[in-house]
Subunit: 87 residues, 2 copies
Amino acid sequence: MADWPQGWEARGTPPALFRRFEFQSYRETRGFLDALAALSEETGLHPQNINFGTTYVNVTLESDETDPDSLAMRDFAAKINALVTGA
Amino acid sequence: MADWPQGWEARGTPPALFRRFEFQSYRETRGFLDALAALSEETGLHPQNINFGTTYVNVTLESDETDPDSLAMRDFAAKINALVTGA
């Protein structure tokens, strides 16, 4: 079950998921950050770390021992992807 | 002119300023992040990097070669301090 949502890279054990999002402008970056904050409010899930500058956002998700296949983390990563693809 | 605004640590040459802010809850962290975003909108100044989890925010400011004494960076750091002290 190693196929992670598109664009995400598994790191470490238990795996944390990492993805870098790049944007054309601070306004786009700000839009993504606000949408991600709203998703966290809605789901109660929070990335382990968010690291951003004016045109990039690095997101790290941590898995949860009670979720050996990291299903919740996968789902969260897929929902974050949807914020940029609108899928 | 090395006395930086309270809580900030100078790193590297030209100096970047770094400070870690810690909060009791994600709600407090969110409030600070929103206030910092508003300050950036207002001043047009953006931290080089913001790195946060649910209860901490690490802020890095970069100096500008045209500002040898980093006066603009100092002022920005002081304004960010005021977001937490309300001073």
